[in-house]
């Protein structure tokens, strides 16, 4: 009964979404206030219905209702409760429902937090979100119904893929989806601007926090996925240029370009068309990602069993969204206008360069991701594009971005002077060069690429500090340094924190790429192996039992300089419900390095107490990769909470509700 209620609520929400996607938009166009006023209640109703539906599916999982096909395929009565809840999004249908849930929540939040926006604008934004929601609801109802019944009911579920039975699964998809779907708000704002032909500084000020929120979630979601792959997949890598990783990275790159271009649109009124185009692109790439992951055209960790109808549906939806929004853009962009002029050397031109490079980076990822599909579709053969391609392309594209990141904050709007900037940043360059020479030597070996990475990281941090000090000195006005430092605008503080996050990330990538060490070796109990000064002694393997698996648990003693540090217990698990083994690595995490042990296979399968193939890693600075991402998100959060998004927006409300135009 409950699954039927969930299904029914989903159908109702599709009808509500259709109303939301049509009447308020028409109302805003024809000035029918009653239709415009429908937007908020309809968005609220849509969110409530989808939330109810999602709760019904969760209930089916928690209650082990194996008469629902989706539950029978992705759960098991032995599955611990937290994974039964997370199992809701452990397969295609449920993760799609999660996607829709997120979309309706974003719409609900916009409805709640948009009191200061003109009503027609709210109607257009929510109407656009309603249309997007309607498309996805049709998709789930016609091709991927999670509430489909199984008759007769299964006695036992097939279980959740053991890879997904991990705290990472509980967090990674919701964060990532919040990010993906969050760009639909930026998209909706862009469409609303095109529809009304009104794109001013106030518009940019409304869009900025929403775009930033989506970007923060996407950053955290990607970082979480990377960390999960690192410890759970047992390969010790943090990024594989897997097509699905790329699918999430492309909207991130464009989203990053978008938050920078929005800054110009807000401060200077420039880049208007470009900003709108980026907002459309960011969301389109989110949709493309969904298509790539869900259509089954890709081989990947994330590919679920597929149904060709799904791929075709998403492809049609993708073409419809991109086609109609680009058509709208072509028709309305001249009305939106280009905005203010700026000099060849100026904050604007530097941010433009940043944008162009980010778009180029995204295009190279897109090319590397789609090229194999294209070759396959043409029937020329099957190929794969591997990590070397992406690495070869990414370093030269990212180097100028990282360099300019140090200069940008010093450049004045409109017209900047190169000698003035050079004078301000020269000490940062000195610091960067010193670090680039000294640090690699400290690690024993000097590589040019390592030096480059460290140079850029130190450069970013040093310029950020110099810029911060300079600004505080300029705005002191008789106050103490600390008082002035604490009263800096949050967007400014957030920007530098996020940039420092990038530097931290670059240090992690550089150091782990240059100095990591790994050994695959056969060990008998009592034998030991040394990696980068870490001494691992293998004490053998014993059988342990988990809630729904049995495991061979190895015991290692980790020692440095003859001194015992800790025991490490990697596992090789076998889950009852599937014959699939799972490697659980043991990681000793540290500020400057991780050491990592995982069990391969017993050399003789009948003698698990004997010799094992073992992999040991030394990973310097690897945690800086995710630490950097957290700093970026934190910087974004601080910038998002800047007072001017609330105070000034409220003050501007009475004016902009009328006819104010830039």
């Amino acid at each position: 009964m409950i699954p039927e209620l969930g299904h029914f609520a989903l159908i109702l929400s599709a009808l509500v979404a259709l109303v939301l996607g049509t009447l308020p938009l028409i109302g805003a166009h024809t000035n029918r206030l009653a239709w415009v006023a429908l937007a908020r209640p309809a968005a609220t109703a849509m969110a409530l219905l989808v939330t109810f539906s999602f709760a019904c599916l969760t209930q089916a999982f928690v209650a082990n209702d194996f008469s629902v096909v989706y539950v029978a395929q992705h759960s098991n009565s032995l599955l611990p409760i937290q994974y039964r809840v997370a199992g809701v999004w452990g397969g295609h249908e449920g993760s799609l429902l999660l996607w829709i849930l997120m979309l309706t929540w974003w719409a609900f939040l916009v409805a709640m937090l948009s009191r200061q926006l003109p009503e027609a604008m709210v109607a257009r934004v929510l109407g656009t979100l309603g249309l997007v929601g309607f498309g996805f609801l049709l998709f789930i109802l016609f091709t991927s119904n999670p509430f489909e019944r199984l008759l007769p009911a299964a006695a036992e579920g097939r279980d959740l893929n053991p890879l997904l039975q991990d705290p990472g699964l509980v967090i990674h998809p919701p964060l990532l989806y919040m990010g993906y779907v969050g760009f639909s708000v930026a998209f909706a704002f862009a469409i609303a601007a095109l529809l009304s032909g009104k794109l001013d500084a106030a518009w940019a000020r409304w869009s900025r926090p929403w775009t930033m929120a989506a970007w923060i979630f996407l950053t955290l979601g990607i970082a979480m996925g990377s960390w999960w792959a690192y410890y759970e997949l047992g390969w010790g890598g943090w990024w594989f240029w897997d097509p699905v990783e790329n699918a999430s990275f492309m909207p991130w790159l464009i989203g990053t370009a978008l938050i920078h271009s929005l800054a110009v649109t807000e401060k200077r009124g420039s880049f208007k068309n470009w900003t709108v185009l980026l907002a459309i692109a960011a969301f389109s790439l989110s949709l493309l990602g969904t298509f790539l992951v869900r259509s089954g055209v890709l081989t990947s960790v994330h590919a679920f069993a597929t149904d060709p109808r799904r791929g075709i549906f998403i492809l049609i939806f993708l073409v419809a969204v991109i086609g109609s929004s680009l058509a709208l853009f072509a028709a309305r962009a001249p009305k939106v206008g280009l905005g203010g002029r700026f000099g060849l050397v100026s904050r604007e031109s530097l941010l433009l360069t940043n944008n162009v490079l980010l778009v180029v980076a995204c295009a190279t990822v897109l090319l590397g991701t789609l090229y194999p599909l294209l070759i396959d579709a043409l029937g020329v053969g099957k190929i794969s594009v591997g990590p070397p391609y992406f690495n070869a392309v990414f370093v030269p594209v990212m180097t100028p971005i990282l360099f300019l990141m140090g200069i940008g904050p010093f450049a004045r709007w409109k017209e900047a002077s190169i000698p003035e900037i050079a004078k301000a940043v020269k000490w940062a360059l000195v610091v960067g060069i010193l670090v680039a020479i000294a640090l690699p030597l400290l690690y024993g070996q000097w590589f040019a690429m390592t030096a480059l990475g460290l140079l850029l990281a130190a450069w970013i941090v040093a310029t950020a500090i110099l810029n911060f000090i300079e600004r505080v000195q300029h705005t002191r006005a008789g106050r103490g340094f600390l008082a002035a430092a604490l009263s800096q605008p949050r967007t400014f503080v957030g920007m530098h924190l996020a940039h420092i996050g990038i530097a931290v990330f670059v240090v992690g990538v550089t150091m782990v790429g240059s100095y990591q060490d790994e050994k695959d070796i056969k060990l008998a109990p009592g034998q030991s192996v040394d990696v980068a000064g870490y001494h691992f002694t293998f004490n053998g393997v014993k059988a342990v039992e988990g809630p729904n698996y049995v495991a061979a648990q190895g015991e290692f003693d980790l020692a440095v300089d003859g001194k015992f540090v800790r025991k490490m217990n990697p596992e090789k698990r076998t889950y009852h419900s599937s014959a699939m083994p799972m490697t659980e690595a043991a990681i000793d995490a540290g500020f400057l390095r991780d050491v990592y042990v995982s069990l391969g296979e017993p050399i003789d399968r009948d003698k698990p107490e004997g010799e094992w193939a073992v992999r040991v890693y030394y990973k310097p600075f690897v945690d800086w990769i995710w630490g950097g991402c957290i700093l970026m998100s934190l910087g974004g959060l601080i910038a998002m909470l800047d007072r001017r998004y609330r105070v000034r927006a409220r003050a501007a409300a009475p004016v902009s509700a009328g006819t104010q135009q830039a």
Binding site: R158, A305, S349, V356, Y371, G600
Partner: protein, 159 residues
Amino acid sequence: MKTRHKKLALIGGALAILGIIAALVLNALNSNIALYISPTDVAAGKAPVGKPFRIGGLVKEDSVAREADGVTIRFVVTDTAKDITVNYKGILPDLFKEGKGVVAQGKMTEAGTFSASEVLAKHDENYMPPEAAKAVDDAQKAANKHVSPSSLSQPKASY
């Protein structure tokens, strides 16, 4: 006039940079793609010499053997028509299993075996790498066997 010159310089510079980037990207792409070649095609001598490529197929039953160092592994990849011996040093992925699909990247050695630098198995026991499925499909089509080729790429329903 002056702004026009500036604009021209800007556009010219941007085009030059984009050109360099495009050249760089195409060069990187060209030297870093790996072709998929089925064991049948390898046996027919269609494998590139000295360049890495990928093979896909099934791990032949009872073919996996370990050398004395414990981490060098030898196994046979088959598309049911032709076999190819693969050498790999390292830890195999969890889902590597005899009788299951596998994809390996590496080069041919002079001895006519395949030296793999990377072995990929997928993350769901019921999931068949499409490249492996295709190699087997093609071989079976060639042999006119009446096995439904698509049955290999479909997940089993085990409830």
